[in-house]
Subunit: 450 residues, 2 copies
């Protein structure tokens, strides 16, 4: 609706009406409209925004749109703009821009903003330091509430919305926090250190961004302080940034399980798979397909080595799909359960053998049940003496093996320092296809005597 | 470390030391320790907590632990406890408890708390109304800042941590909000309606909880007001609850893609797959495996109908795995891309045909590439004239078909009102196995003349 209206005004060149209309929308709508517009039209609409709307819409945009907008603005306007962003958002943008553009923008920043940004960019990618906002208000514990209010009034305009004030000692070490609520209800003469809460969560700058975000989420925080090795307060991670990190990680895991892997650090993989160029999409999708191809051909070679059996009794080929599919799906279930529980902290790595034994037990019980059912079906259907045994036992063993692989492969990948989600499913598929078919044909040869 | 220490003190019966030790930990550590303890020990440790620690640890627990703790406490203590919870957390707990226990606890609540809880329980499950916290502070726009501060001081103890105050008119309609920061820095004589921000996001009580949580996340909010059809303010959704909803939805999607479906409303599916009983796990894992079994046998029947071809040239069975695996993996990639983009709002349902055409184009291009490579390999390897054509063309068609199914099946399920993640992968697997093998054997018969 809103998008149609904007498009109509744009096409009819009713720019002054459009200016009023677009500025009456909220930043989320503006963002969505700009996202849907093509090419130059993005910049035309963006230029009509008043400053506040422009900044808040820009902050909500994904990196692709931010880059396009920046490229279409005059240098001066672009510089002005990047100067207004929060240091953590700016660092994220500069990270993704071509180095030349990033350097030009960086040099246009005020010294203070440049220092803050450079500071953030100095931390390793994907760490707490990289996503923290260094623009925070610190108070000394010895201040009175009245003095604190005075300091807040002086400084609140430079600082992004915040809801907690962190308290430091003389050495700038984090010692506690007060909420704005505490400040409002406290007695004016109270010392900050008497109203503050001394139990305060914090993470080091080097902490993995996902672990830090998960701590924020588990402890129901909305701001998590980030400190250096000496405990000195450097910034905070806010709930919105943490949510973004966790959402991206979930998307990454979902994508990697489906064999959609990338080597480069893509900000919004899901969107690129929809809107990207064919080559971009190929690069992400083909590698895993080629691994699957090799796995499938190897499994075929196993079948090939039992060619004589096949020639004698062609009907044995009928049960190839069921052996492959069951093993595949059970393995996917197991690896999904394992990787998800690991991420959510529900599995204790030290007690892996206990979890593993239980999973294999479950696999064996399901395998036996499914094996008996399928074996009976096979025998009744094909009426070849012994085929039911071969199919049933092969299925039971393959299902059990698949559960073992589903837990063991991601565990090993994780132990070796790889992302447990990334490569596990193709490896599991290949191993269980090859061994499942080998078991099946071995049993066929054994029971049917070929 | 901390867990070992607690366990040691517990085993040595050093209860008074344990009491000091456990109360010095933060609520996240306490929660994790209680989670790891078995049976009665949970309650022993829990009883040693002082009231504040007990409440905050209880709030962080998952429902399973909450239930166990409640069952082990005396009725009186349990009642006292549930009375202290926030109405939304309490509603979530009552939802999961056996009806008898829930009713007993409900009747023990103070009238005010009972009304609030009953109110929340009156909304449909999985709606914004169900997860909102009705315990909020509302201010009238005509108040001055001084009057507002007075009201905040009177009421802040009854209300969970909050950071925004929502402003209503005489008819209790939501008209804007002020942050606590605004209250601190504003002139004491200002009217609230002059300091407030009138552009305020809100959702109806009937809004889907995932959509509401996503709005909160996209607009970078930490509190999202919930209103009734007349626009009257009833409560707020907080960022921590929204994060929990989004995390649960992501887990649900990941699990359903792997065929781990449940009919009942399980709070923590991932944990139950690790710690549940064998029967609980069977109930979740077997249904999809049985569907796969039927699919696999049907695919086998397709192979069976070409038994004569197989008897003549057994080597054609060698390429069954590659046709099945490639189609399967491409289909999973497509359905993952589609469902994830739909959830993240990157696909416009109205322009489905455009997205679909692009995906099928990508599928055809990848299919041709993979088909040519595999066809050449097949011909060189098996040296049977025509087998390369059969394998190559079958692979190209199967891969293209799999991309089409990967987009179309979840789209159709979504259109028909089902959860697009739940059933799509088994349906895709079955269709592409049957048609892929049919295409392959048809081509074999055609090119190899059997």
């Amino acid at each position: 609706m809103k998008f149609q209206k904007v498009l109509e005004l744009l096409n009819n060149n009713e720019i002054s009406t459009l200016k009023d209309v677009i500025n009456s929308y909220n930043s989320l709508d503006i963002n969505s409209i700009i996202d849907q517009l093509e090419g130059d039209k993005k910049a035309v609409v963006f230029r009509l925004l008043n400053k506040d709307n422009a900044i808040s819409a820009f902050e909500l945009m994904d990196i692709d749109n931010q880059q396009q907008i920046l490229a279409l603005l005059t240098d001066e306007r672009a510089n002005e703009f990047v100067n207004e962003l929060e240091p953590d958002d700016r660092a994220k943008l500069l990270d993704e821009l071509p180095a030349k553009v990033a350097n030009r923008l960086m040099s246009s920043l005020s010294k203070e903003e440049r220092d803050k940004t450079a500071n953030i960019l100095g931390y390793e990618p994907e760490t707490a330091g990289r996503i923290m906002n260094p623009n925070i208000l610190k108070l000394n514990g010895t201040m009175t509430v009245t003095e604190a209010v005075k300091k807040i009034k002086e400084r609140y305009k430079d600082i992004e919305d915040f809801h907690f004030i962190f308290v430091t000692d003389k050495k700038r070490k984090l010692v506690g926090y007060v909420s704005l609520m505490d400040v409002i209800v406290a007695d004016k003469e109270d010392k900050i250190e008497d109203v503050m809460e001394p139990n305060v969560y914090s993470v080091y700058t080097s902490e993995d961004q996902e672990k830090a975000s998960r701590l924020l989420q588990k402890a129901d925080l909305i701001e998590l302080p980030v400190v250096d090795k000496e405990g000195r307060l450097l910034g905070v991670i806010t709930a919105d940034d943490a949510m973004e990190v966790l959402e991206n990680e979930a998307t990454e895991d979902i994508f990697e399980k489906a064999g959609l892997t990338t080597s480069d650090n893509e900000v919004d993989r899901s969107k690129r798979m929809i809107n990207g160029t064919v080559l971009q999409i190929w690069k992400v999708r083909l590698p895993f397909l080629i691994i699957t191809l090799i796995g499938g051909l190897t499994a075929g070679a196993v079948i090939g080595s039992f060619e004589e059996t096949l020639e004698a009794i062609a009907a044995v080929a009928i049960f190839i799909p069921v052996v492959m599919d069951m093993g595949g799906n059970v393995g996917t279930q197991s690896s999904t359960i394992f990787t998800r529980a690991l991420i959510l902290g529900q599995i204790d790595r030290k007690r892996f053998s206990k979890h593993f034994a239980k999973e294999v037990g479950i696999g064996a019980s399901m395998g036996m049940l499914l094996g008996i059912v399928t074996g009976v079906i096979a025998e009744v259907w094909q009426q070849i003496p012994g085929i039911g045994f071969a199919v049933g036992i092969a299925l039971a063993l393959t299902v059990t093996l698949a559960t073992a692989l589903g837990f063991a492969i991601p565990f090993l990948l994780n132990k070796l320092g790889f992302d447990q989600a990334a490569g596990s499913d193709p490896i599991i598929t290949t191993i269980k296809d090859i061994s499942g078919l080998a078991i099946y044909f071995f049993l066929v040869t054994h029971f049917l005597g070929h």
